[in-house]
């Protein structure tokens, strides 16, 4: 939010291919937090806040992992997979990761709303699939900037979530029915994220 409110910092924080190759490595992390317009920020942040807060509530520490590990991974994917893209900004790659991870965790915890979580996963898969097949050839206007929406970053975000989910143990539900348990849950410390 602050990065959008302080546009003067954009040049120093944006994912910039040339600058990264000249050693400005922080851009691998910060580029995802730069936005080009209020609507760009609003939609990305809305999804990220809801999914991220819930994920952090269920699996403390995972949101930090997303920000620290997945963010630079997505940037590296863009470096390799989108060589013509000079600059990039936007949180949707990380937001996609957070939503997919949350859905996977909920399914693993045998949530009673499994059908809805599958719906969310299918919605994201369909969006990525349709975008990949019918890749938007034209640019879209975000504020004063003409940009091309990246499909690769969404696919990479979903893949990173799958990888993170597979690599880490999940804290199971303590009770099968509602209401949700209070945290932390002492009895399941062996499965808890360290």
């Amino acid at each position: 939010m602050l990065l959008w409110l302080a546009p003067a910092t954009h040049a120093a924080l944006l994912y910039d291919r040339a600058a990264i190759s000249h050693g400005e490595w922080w851009r691998l992390w910060t580029g995802h937090w730069v936005h080009f317009s209020a609507s760009h920020l609003f939609w990305n942040l809305t999804v990220m806040l809801v999914a991220g807060a819930w994920l952090e509530h269920l699996q403390p520490g995972w949101l930090l992992r997303l920000a620290l590990v997945v963010a630079p991974l997505l940037s590296l994917v863009l470096l390799l997979g989108e060589p013509a893209m000079q600059t990039y900004g936007g949180l949707s790659g990380l937001a996609t990761s957070a939503v997919v991870l949350l859905a996977l965790v909920q399914l693993h915890r045998r949530s009673p709303d499994r059908a809805w979580w599958w719906t969310i996963l299918l919605l994201i898969a369909a969006k990525i699939g349709v975008d990949a097949v019918r890749e938007e050839p034209l640019f879209v206007a975000l504020g004063a900037q003409a940009v091309r929406s990246s499909v690769l970053v969404h696919a990479a975000g979903a893949a990173a979530a799958l990888a993170l989910f597979s690599a880490r143990p999940i804290r199971p539900r303590t009770a099968p029915d509602r209401p949700q348990p209070e945290y932390p849950v002492p009895s399941t410390s062996t499965n808890h994220i360290p």
Binding site: H32, F36, S39, H40, W43, N44, T46, V47, V50, A51, W54, L78, E82, P83, A84, M85, Q86, T87, Y88, G89, G90, L91, S92, G93, L94, A95, T96, V99, L102, Q106, S111, D113, W116, W117, T119, I120, L123, I124, K127, R134, E136, P137, L138, F139, V140, A141, L142, Q145, A146, V147, R148, S149, S150, V153, H154, R178, P179, Q180
Partner: protein
């Protein structure tokens, strides 16, 4: 005998004079700049086969008026000066440039001075502009205006001399066609075109016919330009759809150096946010 011959001669002279007057009152003027004459000036040259256009986004677009190649009012008749001023041309070019500026895949618009285009310059001229100004696509604006003023039956009142000043016996018509054609310079292919037309008809006295025709010329250009810019906006929208849906006809590439965005569509983000909020509320119940 002598006075009879004199009156016959006077009568003949008067008839000839008046007859001349009648034909003298017919006026016509035609002024045009033609896309075909500009792009294909030499009929003997083989037709340039267009290729499938490859648009490298974001585009740099040039907007220019095709220079008028001729002004061919029929000799011996009074010519009506065309009222298409340089100021009007510049204003129209700005409007057309504004239409292109609204497109997110257009990087820049260059308004090309008319002096940079040679009559009959063809694609060689456009290649020069491409090299000089770095444009990929050019919108060429051509116009064609034909004006005619002819007598009606009421023109018999001209015999009274005063009638030429007070009887509106001239039928004036002005037909204007404006056209914007958009070409991809490297592939020589026409991307789309947008026409605008205007027809103005009115009656005037013989004395005021010139003034009315000049006024109609300016109005015709204004009306046709407005229609052309409206059609251009529609054609640009259609072109955006075609570019997405017909990759076999229009290839799209992205120039190195473009900006990308991690952007969720509004509908996807809203759906996800609503679903997540609903599930969160359910889990709390």
């Amino acid at each position: 005998m002598k006075p009879k011959l004199l009156s016959l001669l006077l009568g003949a002279a008067l008839s000839l004079g008046l007859g001349g007057c009648v034909s003298w009152n017919d006026r016509s003027h035609h002024e045009a700049s033609s896309v075909v004459q500009f792009l294909y000036p030499d009929k003997n040259m083989p037709f340039i086969q267009p290729q499938i256009p490859t648009l490298r986004l974001p585009l740099r677009v040039g907007v220019a008026f095709i220079p008028a190649s001729m002004s061919d009012g029929r000799s011996g008749f009074h010519q009506i000066q065309a009222n298409f001023t340089e100021q009007q041309k510049t204003e129209l070019l700005r409007k057309v440039a504004g239409q292109f500026k609204a497109l997110p895949f257009v990087q820049s618009i260059e308004i090309i001075p008319t002096t940079y285009l040679r009559p009959g310059g063809g694609f060689e001229n456009l290649d020069q502009l491409r090299a000089m100004m770095g444009i990929d696509v050019v919108a060429l604006i051509a116009y064609d205006q034909a004006q005619n003023s002819s007598d009606t039956e009421a023109s018999i009142a001209y015999w009274t001399i005063v009638g030429a000043y007070i009887v509106p016996a001239q039928r004036n018509s002005t037909h204007t066609l404006m056209e914007a054609v958009v070409y991809d310079i490297p592939s020589r292919s026409l991307l789309f075109r947008a026409p605008g037309t205007s027809t103005i008809q009115n009656h005037s006295t013989l004395f005021r016919a010139g003034y009315f025709l000049q006024e109609a010329s300016a109005k015709g250009i204004e009306d046709a330009s407005a229609q052309m810019t409206a059609n251009l906006a529609q054609e640009l929208e259609l072109f955006k759809v075609r570019a997405k849906e017909e990759p076999q006809n229009i290839r799209i590439e992205h120039k190195p150096g473009y900006t990308g965005a991690g952007e969720m569509n509004g509908w996807l983000a809203a759906s996800l946010a609503l679903l997540l909020a609903g599930l969160l509320i359910r889990s709390r119940q």
